[in-house]
């Protein structure tokens, strides 16, 4: 079975994509048969350290370390991983040197704590020393209710109501429904679908919605998420309603995950998604991927999840 959450409705389908569709039609009309490969070299630049650390209270500190490569250099992702580096994580209470556990991967045997700041420093011969930091947010407080709305021969309808308590200050959240499937259980049909709706006091901003990206075909799980800010529910309780239709006689357990994240985590994922979208769009300005790593690339971002198991039967 495959879960697919429909990203339409109140969030609005992304207008940019629609204008992009118009642009595509225009390009199809204007540019047939006028493409040729160009023999120019990539702009000259130096390789940099790329650090990726996504810190949350549920997992040990893990840092992935890579180097960037020239665009003329045919190397695999594995070949870009860097060993023999000194990776240090520092918080207000503790300083640890991370241990290499796999090629390019360094881990510390500690769980990050909510509302605590962490700095990651990486030293590697031949590169500038790089540094990035973030503060782990507080785990979001949520309440979930499920109510059966109706039933026909072939399907059952549910309404899922999620209440989210927004603490004072600017926050960005992500919400998603997830189900783990066996890789060989993929089917072409869609057994059930969900539509996101929000209450009138909660607006989902258009830009964060861009970050959801397309369902990943290589992933055994197909999923979709929404990103939203707390602009319209500042320090209040926001309410979201999901209408779920189950087209299976079996019961189903899914995980409803709400994530609170720092701005670096959000900006990085957003810019990465935009870069991919714009890379081969000739009329779009290129997008640089956000980085908060001094002298290097990548991101050190913090987040905290609140997961609730929801059962439909």
């Amino acid at each position: 079975m495959i879960i697919r959450s429909d990203r339409g409705s109140i969030r609005g389908k992304n207008l940019h994509r629609r204008t992009g569709r118009l642009g595509l039609v225009l390009a199809m009309a204007l540019l047939p048969g006028c493409e040729n490969l160009l023999g120019i070299r990539a702009p000259e630049s130096e390789s940099k350290l790329a650090v990726y650390g996504f810190l949350n209270p549920d997992e040990r500190v893990v840092i992935d370390l890579y180097r960037s490569a020239s665009l003329d250099e045919a190397v695999t992702e594995e070949a870009l991983r860097l060993d023999d580096a000194l990776v240090i994580v520092t918080s207000t209470t503790q300083r640890d040197t991370l241990v290499r556990t796999a090629p390019g991967r360094y881990e510390a045997n500690r769980l990050p704590r909510q509302e605590e700041g962490y700095a990651i420093e990486v030293q590697k011969t031949g590169f500038d020393t790089v540094r990035g930091e973030c503060v782990v947010p507080k785990r979001p407080v949520t309440r979930v209710r499920v109510a059966k709305q109706g039933e026909t021969e072939s399907s059952k309808q549910f309404r899922v109501t999620l209440q989210l308590d927004d603490p004072p200050g600017a926050h960005v959240y992500r919400m998603g429904l997830f189900l783990f499937l066996e890789p060989d259980s993929r089917q072409n049909d869609t057994p059930w679908a969900a539509k996101f709706f929000s209450s009138s006091n909660t607006a989902l901003r258009a830009d964060p919605a861009d970050v959801g990206g397309q369902p990943l075909e290589t992933n055994p799980v197909e999923f979709d998420v929404v990103y939203f800010s707390d602009d319209t529910m500042e320090a209040q309780t926001g309410e979201f309603v999901l209408n779920v239709e189950l087209r299976s006689s079996n019961s189903l357990e899914v995980s409803l995950v709400v994530t609170s994240m720092d701005s670096a985590y959000f900006e990085y994922h957003k810019s990465l998604s935009l870069q991919r979208r714009n890379l081969e769009d000739p009329f779009a300005e290129p997008v640089t991927v956000f980085s908060n790593v001094e002298n290097g690339l990548g991101v050190v971002g913090c987040y905290a999840n609140q997961a609730t198991t929801v059962r439909f039967q």
Binding site: G8, S9, I10, K13, L15, H16, R21, L22, L26, A29, L30, L31, C34, E35, N36, L37, L38, I40, A42, P43, E44, S45, S47, A50, F54, N56, D58, E59, S68, A69, L71, D72, A74, E77, L80, R174, F178, F180, K195, S200, A206, T218, N219, N243, T259, H269, K270, S271, L272, L279, E280, F283, A284, E285, P286, V287, T288, V289, G298, Y303
Partner: protein, 789 residues
């Protein structure tokens, strides 16, 4: 009172002081009048009026008017204009005299040789001002054979195009929004059709075109880089005429004639593309799309011996639409959308002589530009009893009402004073988005609406004063000040804008000049893309996003080689501040009036260069050679760490050679060759894993897709290959019936140079990047048919 206002008013008074004691001197008389085409009665713009054996002279203004103040006596006047026979007149002046001059269109004699006489040498025109006639524009070979005003100007020095084939106008390193484009005196915001490949006006309805590089006279303001003054035809005062033009892309019909002979005329013109009919041939199954543009012009003119009233209307619209329908698994999906953009302008103007020495004009105008996007998306599942519908409407635009008055007071010895006022009420719709969605199923109906149209109202006011002083026969100076005021809510700005120009006549043939100008601009153009796709938003200056400002310094020289040949050279330096650009990755369509200021970076710009122009405007061979050596850069605090970077269209070398050679009175061949340094492009520089933290919220240890991400390095870090091409066209003109027809057949990019229209970076499976170049404009034939009767 604001200090800057006090300074401005003081300078305004200084402009008038030299004349205060003199007043109207009784020892002089004024000879004034109108210069018109002898056949059509159309007023002629830029006719050189010279007083023989003196250095006195004038050029006719937009209404064909001139005034010369001189001591009484016998006066020998000559009136010369490109394409017309020179008219000479000797009159005995005892009192103020009003003349009505009719210039006869020249009968082309290709082999005539004119004797160079220093008294008949035309006045050297500044290299910073480019004038073109419709006939010159129509002889230049163009893409698809469609004559185009803006593209003709792009062949002049200091003027650069945007992407190939586009009507972008980048003057001395400025942006396309920094040009004050006046159509019969009314500012126009967007001047392109066909996604920027054609300009909004056909040369067939144009009387004159003049481009002033820089802020120019204090009479003009509100833009930093240039003033493009386009005067529409007034309509034939004597005879009904019909003009038909059929090209590859569009067709045009123009009707003109007298309503009351010699006094009242009309002109009506309509143009439309037939691209939508062609696109119907390439529709994929299930999808339908189309595009068309159209524009129309209407004008009524009333002229008397001393006055004129003019009503001008212009409307232009582009529309792109898309519809699709699909059926799958019991679900019927329908999608339709359209994108409209266009201008609608109108003006009512009066011009007249208040006294024999004072000319005045007054106008009331409306100018509006709008961009609308609409989409409707329906997912219908009748078997399930479900229906989902969503509507999105996006709009952006600007609408101005303006009133302006101009007065010119002519004094003895080529001295004059100009002053006037402008008041503009702006209404901006920066970017508004509305959505409405509904969901119905068996037992539920939900609907929601978001957004609304938010508008901002602003005022622009300006007072200007300008004096032209002659210091003897060889030196003159134009000293002006424009006092501009802009108000939007709690944001208010006042700019005293000095304008200074001095000319020194080294010899009868050679003139040098220096100019310093300062200008402000209270509207910004936020452009998402680099072609003319109209996802460009016109936005007002606010408290946070200040008006743009620029200083420009110019030094130039002009030499008249022969009666029809002139060479000029100019050096310029321009400094601009408060320029805006979208923040990286910003989606402008989602921006609304309340948050667009958060989506822009604010910075400054710098441009400098040298321009040369050798131009021959008469004879069997006509044309010009233009060369520009230039540099233009920008700097934004949050881009590239605040380092200066080259602009997209920063071209070190820019060459245009344009020529028309008439083999006979029937056959002419025209050719254009252009060369330009490749545009600056921003290409990826390094590859790195684009690690995403999807595993973070599903805790799936096996999931680790790592597609690539790219580090771009410094902005505009690479150059496209150099650009060059050759265009050729042949014109065959022949009288047919009661009229004259012209076939124009040509080819664009005749030697098939693969110039980059754009370059994309496309990842290969091995992780390296392939750069792909798209060159759609190769060996493009063009043909047009023109018939006038």
């Amino acid at each position: 009172m604001d200090r800057s206002i006090r300074w401005g008013l003081l300078l305004l008074l200084i402009c008038l002081v030299p004349y205060a004691p003199s007043g109207a001197q009784p020892s002089t008389v004024a000879v004034s009048g109108y210069v018109r085409d002898a056949e059509s009665g159309e007023s002629l713009v830029g006719v050189h009026v010279r007083v023989s054996e003196t250095t006195l002279g004038a050029a006719t203004d937009q209404y064909g008017r001139f005034v010369i103040v001189t001591p009484p006596g016998t006066l020998a006047l000559s009136f010369s204009y490109i394409g017309y026979d020179t008219h000479r007149l000797s009159i005995s002046l005892r009192s103020d005299t009003l003349l009505q001059i009719r210039l006869q269109p020249a009968v082309v004699s290709l082999d005539s040789i004119r004797v160079l006489d220093s008294q008949e040498l035309p006045t050297a025109t500044s290299g910073s001002v480019v004038a073109m006639t419709p006939a010159e524009i129509k002889q230049i070979p163009m893409l698809g054979g469609e004559a185009d005003v803006i593209k003709a100007l792009q062949l002049m020095p200091g003027v650069q195009s945007g992407r190939e084939g586009s009507t972008g106008l980048h003057v001395r390193g400025g942006g396309p929004d920094q040009n004050l484009i006046l159509l019969d005196g009314t500012p126009i915001y967007s001047v392109n059709h066909l996604f920027g490949f054609m300009s909004a006006f056909s040369p067939d309805v144009i009387r004159s075109v003049s481009l002033t590089k820089g802020a120019g006279s204090a009479r003009y303001g509100g833009r930093l880089s240039s003033v493009l003054d386009i005067a529409l035809k007034e309509g034939d005062l004597n005879k009904r005429r019909t003009h038909v033009n059929v090209g590859v892309i569009s067709g045009l019909v123009t009707l003109e004639g007298p309503i009351k002979k010699g006094r009242v005329s009309y002109l009506v013109s309509a143009r439309r593309t037939y691209l939508d009919a062609l696109l119907l041939l390439f529709q994929p199954p299930g999808d339908k799309y189309g595009y068309y543009f159209m524009d129309g012009i209407g004008k009524l003119a009333y002229v008397s011996d001393k006055h004129g009233f003019y009503l001008s209307l212009y409307g232009g619209q582009d529309r792109f639409w898309f519809r699709s329908r699909s059926l799958r698994q019991g679900s019927a999906d329908r999608y339709r959308s359209y994108l409209n953009w266009g201008n609608l302008t109108g003006s009512l103007r009066w011009q007249g002589q208040l006294t024999p020495r004072v000319l005045a004009t007054a106008s009331l105008a409306r100018s509006a530009y709008a961009l609308d996007f609409f989409e409707n998306d329906i997912e219908d599942q009748p078997n399930q009893g479900r229906r989902y519908e969503e509507n999105v409407f996006f709009t952006s635009g600007v609408r101005d009402w303006s009133q302006r008055n101009d007065l010119t007071w002519y004094l003895p010895g080529d001295n004059e004073v100009r002053f006037g006022s402008v008041l503009i009420a702006h209404r901006f719709t920066p970017s508004s988005r509305r959505t409405a969605s509904s969901f119905e199923d068996v037992d539920t109906t939900r609907s929601s609406k978001t957004g609304g149209i938010e508008r901002l109202h602003a005022w622009s006011m300006a007072l200007y004063g300008e004096t032209q002083l002659a210091f003897g026969p060889d030196v003159d100076m134009v000293l002006g000040i424009r006092l501009s005021r802009y108000d939007l809510g709690d944001a208010a700005y006042t700019f005293p804008e000095p304008r200074f120009l001095t000319r020194y006549r080294l010899t009868d043939r050679t003139t040098v000049e220096a100019a310093v100008t300062y200008a402000s601009q209270s509207v910004h153009l936020l452009s998402r893309s680099s072609i003319g796709v109209p996802l460009d938003l016109w936005l007002p200056a606010t408290r946070r996003v200040r008006p743009e400002e620029a200083w420009q310094f110019t030094l130039g020289g002009t030499r008249v080689m022969t009666q029809s040949v002139q060479i000029s050279a100019d050096v310029y330096y321009k400094s601009m501040k408060h320029l805006i650009t979208p923040i990286t990755g910003s989606n402008l369509v989602g921006v609304d009036a309340s948050n667009w200021e958060d989506r822009v970076e604010i910075g400054d710009g710098e441009a400098y260069g040298m321009e040369w122009l050798l131009r021959k405007r008469e004879g069997r061979l006509r044309g010009w050679i233009a060369y520009t050596l230039a540099r233009s850069t920008s700097r934004f605090a949050n881009i590239d760490g605040g380092r200066r970077f080259p602009n997209r269209y920063d071209r070190t070398h820019d060459v245009a050679v344009t020529g028309t050679y008439c083999l006979s009175e029937i056959w002419c061949v025209s050719s254009t060759w252009v060369f330009a340094t490749g545009n600056a492009v921003w290409l990826p520089a390094q590859r790195l894993p684009g690690v995403e933290d999807f595993a973070g919220h599903v805790s799936d240890p096996d999931y680790s897709p790592v597609p690539d991400a790219y580090d771009y390095g410094p902005r505009n870090n690479k150059r496209e290959p150099n650009y060059h091409r050759l265009d050729i066209s042949f014109q065959h003109t022949k009288p047919i019936g009661r009229g004259m027809r012209t076939w124009t057949i040509g080819v664009y990019n005749a030697y098939a140079r693969r110039n980059p229209f754009f370059i994309t970076a496309s990842p290969r499976p091995d992780g390296t990047i392939a750069y792909k170049q798209f060159s759609p404009f190769i060996l493009i034939p063009g043909i047009s048919y023109d018939y006038s009767f």
